[in-house]
């Protein structure tokens, strides 16, 4: 039942609304609204009940394992959430003078320092609000660099075919033409092909390493040199940073600029779709272009640095400084883990992925790059099963829901057919991984013997399989009676 179907004209949660002495306003009629907006008219209890019940219809980290490749769905510590919700942070206005904002600014400054260390970069700007905005920042910085060099012919951004969709979309948003770089059979960038693509039009390349294929790009240094030699710059998509914390740094690999997804690597809750935070880090080449505001330190005081102090900055990306509360959470998380804990997170994320990969392989599944080490994730391809039993990766994924596992990422990267990209993260226990293997094996058995169980899955969710085609064709995106 929709909340609107519980609505009744005239009902109001009086405990929450102002008690007006009069409803007089001095605003002329021409500006005023005449109709009542369609907000629900329900009691506080009705709202509480409705949304409590709705929440129970969701999978979440707090209820289910999410082996969602490229998403790093790990435990979101409750303590971090609690501390970021201290009233001193929550009730603080973003434009409050620096003098009364030292607590928040200090946290942000420390976070900048920590992230610079982790990435091996010179400087960090925290303002981008998600990975995609971090990409926009980074690519804009590359553009600013070439423009400062009067190098206006560099109109191409190279992106591997395995890249996340935001990479090409962000490049286009900065006015670049996107060129797809192919992948070789081992899952690495096809270096020979890349060579032929580089040239005076090359603005740069966007890479993820370990890549979204779950493997570490071994020739990264060579690639970096090639791109730099061609006059291009290297952008690092930090979505997979959880694989390499304290082990290897993008700055050391030769990247010039990058984003991080704090809502992945730094365990901030994903919130059913957001918010995230996508800080951007840059080396000596690009640091001055970082978006503002940045937090600086002058004597003992933390200060905002804006376009005034950083005139070459690409400028402002949001009204204030991005998703401040998410940044705060990432800072708390980083302080709790510490350098040793961050490193260990990547070690165990890698351990879990490799263990799972080996067990699934042993159980008869086809691994996409099975001779490679898994990074913190790996790919199962069901192309054989699809052919033999007529089932798809979707069918497999939907059936997993019935066993209480969120589905892995499906059909991404696009170049592996019928793929499941699996990332267990370090916070899942061996028992849970073993249970996942058992369930995968059981579903494989079902695929052989009763494929219709998969094709009609899920069976135990609040709804059965949904009709996506109808949703798009008979568009119903706003309720009306």
């Amino acid at each position: 039942m929709l909340i609107f179907e519980q609505s009744k004209p005239g009902r109001e949660a009086h405990g929450q609304t102002p008690q007006l002495a009069s409803d007089e306003v001095t605003i002329p009629q021409q500006f005023l609204r005449e109709d009542k907006p369609r907000l629900p008219e329900v009691s506080e209890l009705q709202a509480v009940r409705h949304y409590t019940r709705l929440s129970q219809k969701n999978f979440s980290i707090d209820t289910n394992m999410y082996p969602l490749g490229s998403c790093t769905m790990k435990y979101n510590p409750r303590g971090v959430h609690r501390l970021a919700s201290l009233p001193e942070f929550l009730q603080h206005h973003p434009l409050a003078p620096e003098k009364i904002s030292q607590g928040f600014l200090a946290c942000m400054y420390e976070l900048q320092e920590i992230l610079a260390d982790i990435t091996g970069m010179q400087e960090v700007s925290l303002t981008p609000m998600a990975g995609a905005q971090g990409e926009l920042a980074g690519v804009s910085m590359i553009k600013a660099y070439h423009e400062a060099n009067n190098d206006h012919g560099r109109i191409e951004m190279l992106v591997p075919d395995a890249a996340h969709g935001t990479n090409p979309a962000s490049a286009v948003k900065c006015g670049y033409v996107v060129k797809e770089v192919p992948t070789d059979k081992d899952g690495d960038v096809d270096v020979e092909a890349l060579k032929t693509m580089l040239g005076p039009k090359t603005a740069g390349i966007m890479l993820t390493n370990p890549s979204t294929l779950g493997v570490f790009e071994r020739r990264i240094k060579e690639i970096a040199d090639m791109v730099h030699d061609a006059g291009g710059l290297l952008y690092y998509d930090g979505a997979n940073l959880n694989a390499i914390l304290g082990k290897v740094r993008p700055g050391d690999m030769g990247f010039d600029v990058m984003h991080m997804n704090l809502h992945k690597t730094f365990a901030t809750p994903h919130g059913g779709g957001g918010p995230g935070a996508g800080p951007v880090a840059a080396n000596h080449r690009l640091a001055k272009y970082l978006p503002t505001p940045v937090v600086g330190k002058q004597k003992d005081q933390y200060v905002w640095l804006t376009k005034q102090e950083r005139p070459e900055s690409i400028g402002r990306m949001s009204t204030f400084m991005g998703n401040a509360g998410i940044l705060l959470r990432a800072h708390i998380y980083a302080r709790m883990l510490g350098h040793e804990g961050l490193k260990r997170a990547s070690q165990f994320a890698t351990l879990n992925a490799n263990y799972l990969m080996h067990r699934l392989k042993a159980a008869g599944f086809t691994i996409a790059f099975s001779e490679r080490r898994a990074s913190h994730e790996f790919i199962v391809t069901l192309k054989n099963e699809a052919k033999e039993y007529g089932i798809t990766a979707t069918d497999f994924a939907k059936r997993l829901l019935d066993f209480g596992f969120h589905a892995p990422t499906m059909y991404f990267p696009l170049l592996v057919p019928e793929c499941l990209l699996i990332e267990p993260t370090e916070t899942e226990s061996k028992e849970e991984l073993d249970r996942f293997v058992d369930v995968m094996v059981q579903i494989l058995e079902e695929a052989k013997t009763h494929p219709e169980i998969l094709k009609t899955a899920p069976h135990t969710m609040p709804v059965k399989r949904l009709d996506d085609v109808r949703a798009a064709r008979e568009l119903d995106v706003v309720f009306s009676e």
């Binding site: 008219e41 501390l83 957001g274 883990l337 994924a397 226990s429 709804v463 996506d468 706003v478």
Partner: protein
């Protein structure tokens, strides 16, 4: 290992299963010359108890004040139920609802949100959120340019009464796309866009007009006129609005003859705390005809294989994960959790409640304006109608007054001359329903006192 569940025995067994001797062997594909031993600038880990002490200390360095500052982020009462529910693990720790069957709670909620926002703005369609107000406006401008079939111009008229931070964001994002912004001047008396300024562009090709209501000064623009003017020129009207105000003010869908085309805004006033600036959320609504140009996620209602109602992400072919370089935007992760909070907020507050919040805020401002205007040294800068924010002129630099007022525990407002050099000594003051008459009287008294104190000190200084 704060959050790692493995026992030593587990690790042993897992390494055996993989066939390596130790965990570090799993990194053997990383070129050895690239690896580091450890992070140097990250402190050693601490447990939750130690973190509590540490971050309470950090917190204590943020002074808590009585807030009369708005300028794009507004203090409102938020029912406790809003975040009690929003913080439930099933909402807070869920992923984007790509697996619809396992995400019906979140999806239905977004569908409800879309319905509420569409109705509040008077539009046909709402998406499931943008990052925040300024980026929502930028995306709207890009969308307007993309979708204006009749007019392929890349010139956009932009009111200078739009929040100056928003205009900076527009610069960054829209400039990369070769869009030219032309700023519309405002009337120094009214504090609203000079309608006569519009006429200058009567003969130019204009793709869109961008207007904010209430504008950055809290003044009410003549949106009917602007909208009709734009439409007669085949330009689209892109609005940035305060959602609370919409319970009281004319919905953008009703502006002029045909209504605004794309409506965006900062959703923060709908149940999201000030929180040092975020996370907030942007909303974006549009007319039906523009839906395929809409950036961001949209949830649709459909049926399952039993014919039962269900919800799912729809029109995904607009999005980057499907369309990549051809997507309507690069946005992926959005602000889902804040949408959750806003939806619950709107459900609890309801339509009358939101109107009362708007009215109370407005009445409070009128009260404060009167009291301030009665002070000798202070005048109201503009004489348009205001919503819950207004500009006052002080006898001295506004920064000085703001600093002094902090000593009384009051955050007095935003000095304007940085963003509007013509507005010397001016302060943008905001008041919402959270302030009582006593709070406002106290503001006025402290302001008087602060001015006196500053005068005295400067006289003394002059004497020396």
């Amino acid at each position: 290992m704060p959050f790692i569940p493995h026992t030593d025995e587990d690790v042993k067994q897992m390494l055996v299963a993989i066939g390596v001797a130790e965990i570090d062997d799993l990194f053997d594909e990383v070129p050895a010359n690239l690896t580091i031993d450890s992070l140097k600038n990250v402190p050693t880990g601490i447990n939750e108890m130690q973190a509590s002490v540490l971050f309470k200390e950090f917190g204590s360095l943020n002074q808590q004040v009585s807030c009369f500052l708005g300028a794009g982020a507004y203090e409102h009462h938020i029912p406790a139920a809003v975040w009690d529910l929003t913080s439930r693990g099933e909402f807070m720790t869920a992923y984007t609802p790509y697996q619809a069957e396992a995400s019906q709670g979140g999806l239905q909620l977004i569908y409800e949100f879309q319905t509420m926002m569409a109705s509040l703005t008077g539009m046909d369609i709402s998406n499931a959120s943008m990052y925040e107000g300024a980026t929502a406006l930028s995306e709207a401008v890009l969308m307007a340019i993309r979708s204006n079939r009749r007019n392929k111009a890349r010139k956009v008229l932009l009111a200078t009464t739009v929040n100056s931070n928003y205009r900076q964001v527009l610069d960054l994002i829209a400039a990369k796309q070769n869009i030219q912004f032309i700023e519309l001047a405002y009337c120094q008396k009214q504090g609203t866009t000079l309608l006569s300024d519009l006429e200058k562009y009567q003969d130019e090709d204009i793709a869109a007009v961008v207007v904010q209501q209430p504008n950055f000064f809290g003044c009410l623009e003549d949106v009917d006129h602007i909208t009709d003017w734009a439409h007669q020129k085949q330009a689209l009207v892109v609005a940035s609005v305060n959602p609370t105000s919409l319970a009281l003010l004319k919905a953008p869908g009703k502006w002029g003859e045909q209504g605004a085309d794309i409506v965006t805004g900062e959703g923060q006033p709908l149940g999201v705390p000030l929180a040092s600036g975020g996370p907030y959320f942007g909303f974006m609504c549009c007319k039906q005809a523009l839906v395929r140009q809409m950036p961001g996620r949209i949830v649709g209602r459909t049926v399952d294989s039993d014919g039962k109602q269900g919800f799912t992400l729809t029109l995904q072919a607009r999005e980057q994960h499907i369309r990549r370089a051809k997507a309507t935007s690069n946005i992926c992760t959005n602000q889902g959790l804040l949408v959750t909070a806003a939806t619950i907020y709107m459900s609890i507050i309801g339509p009358q409640g939101l109107k009362k919040v708007a009215i109370q805020s407005h009445q409070n401002l009128e009260y404060l304006k009167q009291k301030l205007a009665a002070l000798d040294d202070i005048e109201l800068v503009f004489n348009a109608s205001n919503f819950h924010e207004a500009v006052i002129r002080l006898p001295i630099a506004a920064e000085k007054v703001v600093e002094k007022m902090l000593q009384h525990g009051i955050l007095a407002g935003l000095p304007l001359h940085q963003d509007y050099s013509e507005l010397k000594n001016s302060l943008l003051v905001c008041v919402t329903e959270t302030k009582t008459q006593q709070d406002m009287d106290n503001y006025v008294a402290c302001l008087q006192l602060s001015l006196n104190q500053i005068k005295k000190t400067s006289k003394k200084a002059a004497k020396v």
